[in-house]
Amino acid sequence: MTDAAAAPQSNTATAAPEMLSWDSKSRRVVMLYVPLACFLLILLFPFYWMTVTAFKPNAELYDYATHNPFWITSPTLDHIRHLLFNTSYPHWLWTTMLVSIAATFLSLLSSTLAAYAIQRLRFRGSQYVGLAIYLAYLVPPSILFIPLATMVVRLGLFDTPFALILTYPTFLVPFCTWLLIGYFKSIPYELEECALIDGASRLQILRQITLPLAIPGLISAGIFSFTLSWNEFIYALAFIQSSENKTVPVAILTELVTGDVYQWGALMAGSLLGSLPVAIFYSFFVDYYVSSLTGAVKE
């Protein structure tokens, strides 16, 4: 396996862009399928390992001598059961869902309007406003969370989902706005101009022409926001205190690592279940997600 991976490495730069050539079958296997299989193996192995661990009884978990670690001899639901009934996992899931959806909605609303203003209403300095919003994305949350925590408290939002719903847009809005500017850019001006001449108001144009055309962009931005919200860690670590209000990523790290032993089974079950919702959600919108990664690039 290692040999096979090493061999194509030296040739890849020359071979890979060969879109139009008709290579022999074996060459194609070595150049394409073997490296691809290696990539897949490495990228997916942690998930496999997560899954296997989540369903393995403790006896097998720590005994590699008598049990093949790659397989489960007697799968168990104990870890999952522990997670669902002995911890607040359902509650964490609910909170995370709520926060992610609300933050996404808020971000989409404000960034659509902002992107529309910047890209379609074109005013003096509009590109600077766009740049400023884009630059906001450069501000790492690790700088902000201490001062933000005091603000969150002054606003009476500490330890409530609102603390997260209102602060997540700080990193969502810049990205979404930037993404949507790209989408609006790709919608021909002529459409709007015709409508303007026909006497439609700008709001009507936004609602009836621009937005429907930008729907793929909205979905992309929405999915991206949802995923980022689901993944967010520092703010949730700092602004949420009570265990049942925590979001899944924070809760799994802080609530499941208990004193006496690392409960790897439960930790992996938690990681698996915490990843599933976002993975399922994502699988429905894969193409939008992909296009959100690349802005207005169309396929």
Partner: protein, 441 residues
């Protein structure tokens, strides 16, 4: 959490009953003196939230919850207890103090409450009452609970850090017990290394074990972070001697100790990789309860670490220290709950359920049946009688807490052990860091 309450409650109640059954006779032994409880009218409709470090032994959590539940039922109020990881409690306290929102009570570690002295309620009244009733507070409790002559927090117990070792292994290496001097201790560790059953002590950022080992090392050579006046004194010949000693000692450790957290030595010891370490009772307890590991538990002995150049074994037990925040809307209820938990009916079953994991801050509880059930754990009985504390020898100030939280001592040791720095350089760097923490106040 709501869906869990019933189940937890039943478990907890069962635990409490079991504990009470075994400790029923023993409770009479706790001698009390007459004392008047402070008048704390509990606010109507009070709801309390308490944050606590996570348990290392399961009954700790069960009995603690059951006790809190009893208080809640007796007073018709609501009490909720959240447990968080050891590394997280400091930052959660910091955020709570800084933001003025969150739990009413936080049970922190060690001198932690001193960092937030301005944000927490005075507890002099309840501390005085409890002290009077239960034969006085022990030295470590006085050190951590008091600021000047007033009490800012209630210490609940401390986890000691004796040496914990395999009898058979020591015998194999030619030792009957752990020697009491540095040279003998080093010889023991070298002998263990030779028979491939090495010792190991946490040098990572471990709240309990890391501090316990670094403190023991420096203190047992006569070094200290600060002098009696509170001036930084870490860069001393004694410290350098300790670090030079560590350089040799470290050669005998099992690999990986630089990254050890509080749990790592438990695991290494239980796995048979490490045969001498320093830990609280949790390790012994968990092996005792695991049929597969019971033979190790039976082979295990716990004795104080070497005295070194001192007359007493230097160890500052990791102390649970409860504080009531000023932002609490129900300060009376909070103080009453803490007092309630310290009374015999609640405290003794908890003490016994922990089988010595947390050792009492009040003298009267030294008579608890906890300390006579298993002779092996009697080494933990006087954990809080030790005249050492984090930041020793100076008075406890914010700097002592901050320097501990930043692992100044631990990282000084780790830097030498890993070969990153010479003993002199490491001591100088620790001095530089410590001075910053102690200078500003």
């Amino acid at each position: 959490m709501a869906n869990l309450i019933t189940r937890r409650e039943t478990i907890a109640a069962a635990g409490a009953v079991a504990a009470a059954a075994t400790g029923g006779a023993a409770q009479a032994q706790i001698a009390t003196q007459p004392a008047t409880a402070p008048n704390l009218p509990i606010e109507r409709g009070a709801t309390l939230r308490m944050l606590r470090p996570v348990r290392f032994v399961q009954p700790d959590e069960d009995v603690w919850r059951a006790n809190c539940q009893r208080f809640a039922q007796a007073n018709g109020i609501e009490v909720r207890v959240d447990f968080v990881g050891w590394e997280d409690i400091t930052q959660q306290t910091a955020v709570t103090a800084n933001t003025g929102a969150g739990p009413d009570i936080i049970v922190g570690f060690d001198a932690g409450p001193h960092l937030f002295a301005e944000k927490i309620h005075d507890l002099t009244d309840v501390a005085t009452y409890l002290g009077q009733k239960y034969g006085g507070w022990r030295p470590l409790a006085n050190a951590y609970g008091r600021r000047g002559d007033r009490w800012i927090s209630l210490p609940f117990g401390a986890s000691g850090g004796p040496a914990i070792w395999r009898t058979s292994t020591l015998r194999e290496a030619g030792f009957e017990s752990v020697p009491d001097d540095h040279a003998g201790f080093l010889r023991l560790c070298q002998a263990l290394k030779r028979i491939n059953k090495p010792a190991g002590f946490a040098l990572g950022n471990a709240v309990g074990d890391g501090n316990a080992f670094a403190n023991w090392l420096v203190w047992s050579f006569g070094g200290s972070l600060t002098d009696e006046q509170g001036a930084v004194s870490i860069n001393s010949p004694q410290t350098v001697a300790a670090l030079n000693y560590l350089r040799e000692l470290y050669q005998t450790f099992v690999p990986g100790t630089l990254a050890w957290g509080d749990i790592s030595n438990n695991r290494a010891y239980a796995a048979g990789e490490c045969h001498l370490t320093q830990n609280g009772v949790s390790l012994y307890f968990s092996m005792l309860n695991d049929p597969a590991l019971r033979h190790i538990a039976e082979d295990t002995q716990m004795t104080p670490m070497p005295k070194g150049t001192l007359n007493a074994v230097p160890n500052a037990g990791l102390t649970l220290n409860a504080m009531v925040f000023r932002h609490s809307r129900f300060p009376n209820a909070a103080k009453a709950l803490l007092t309630f938990l310290m009374e015999t009916e609640q405290y003794d079953p908890w003490l016994q359920a922990n089988i010595g994991y947390w050792s009492q801050p009040l003298n009267a509880y030294a008579a608890s049946a906890t300390w006579t059930k298993d002779p092996k754990i009697s080494v933990f009985r006087d954990t809080m009688n030790n005249p050492f504390w984090n930041g020793y020898k100076g008075p406890i100030v914010e700097g002592s807490v901050a320097a501990t939280a930043d692992y100044v001592m631990v990282q000084m040791c780790a830097a030498v052990a890993s070969g990153q720095a010479t003993p002199q350089a490491a001591a100088a760097e620790a001095e530089r860091r410590a001075q910053r923490y102690f200078r500003r106040r």
